[in-house]
Symmetry: C2
Subunit: 194 residues, 2 copies
């Protein structure tokens, strides 16, 4: 099969270069020529792997989003209590945002921009299921507030993006202590009080 014979390394290098350049310069200031140069490839080669620039950025988004959710749910154990399960997932996500901050930055930029087309955005959302199921269980058990999953995500997960960005900008240092505080705030905002 033709597709599979093309070096996967080259595709990865292109995706990596895209992330790095878009993070540092923004989509508007990352030409294909620079992406090619950073990936040590001819501009023309990009078009062997991707239809066009939009496709490159869409696929990069989907790749990174998949990596994110895989990381978050990798060793998830569905037999855990809702609270323990949430803490586990939350800390995995926090871990990802801090350790893979380049990738997390890229996602934050994509998620707040009309840079990614709608089908790719939908594709990216798909893999969040385990967390949503945990929340549904928590609601049934009366442990999690009976709120829309959007609200739960907004308050318990999304703040990590804000913190990560400000950490990257050097405005704020998110160390171990802060991280525990952040978790407590996240949990406070979605757990049923008392």
């Amino acid at each position: 099969m033709a597709k599979l014979q093309k070096s996967i390394d080259k595709r990865n290098a292109l995706v990596k270069a895209t992330i790095e350049l878009v993070n540092n310069n923004g989509f508007h200031a990352t030409p294909m020529s620079k992406i090619a140069k950073m990936a040590n490839v001819s501009p023309a080669t990009i078009y062997l792997y991707f239809e066009n620039k939009q496709d490159l950025v869409n696929q990069t988004y989907i790749d990174v989003k998949a990596e994110y959710t895989k990381y978050a749910f990798n060793d998830f154990d569905t037999t855990l209590s809702v609270e323990a399960g949430f803490e586990h997932i939350w800390k995995r996500i926090a871990d990802f945002k801090l350790k893979e901050s380049e990738h997390a930055m890229f996602l934050a930029q994509c998620d707040n921009t009309p840079m990614i087309d709608e089908p790719s955005r939908q594709e990216g959302i798909k893999h969040l299921q385990p967390l949503l199921e945990l929340w549904e269980r928590g609601k049934k058990e009366g442990i999690i507030k009976p709120l829309s999953n959007y609200l739960l995500y907004a308050y318990s997960i999304n703040p990590l993006s804000f913190l990560m960005i400000n950490q990257k900008r050097g405005a704020f240092q998110l160390d171990e202590t802060h991280l525990e505080e952040a978790f407590q705030s996240a949990w406070s905002s979605i757990k049923v009080c008392k």
Copy 2:
């Protein structure tokens, strides 16, 4: 003075067009020619009001950020209790994000992108003081958790951006009920429990 004689209406039209086009197409896909067309102005005229494209987008950011904080703190009463004061500010901010969602969208895009230069970003942060002071008072009174202001903002204010964006995308409807729930989550996450 030359600057002041130039029609302020024209400047406003340019800023407005910039917001609208950047919101809908992203910075990478809003050329000066389109901005000019939407503002009913020649491309050359933009350069009477702004140095260049970067300056236009920087100034637009600062304008909108100032409008945001002005709206948030407009009728703020420093004699209110910490809880009442926070509720007031929070609801003003929520109001802004929902009613002026075009402007809020623009800020969200700028804040997650290397689109705005650092000095303009700093300029934009300046006006948040009243909220920070309220939080300091709350911490002293033992009502607000003794956390970094970044954490407090991340958990109590920033979630509104996420909700607003998803509302704009039609994924979620943020009505009066949801808004009250959102406020309770915000307050839960930063208040001292018990």
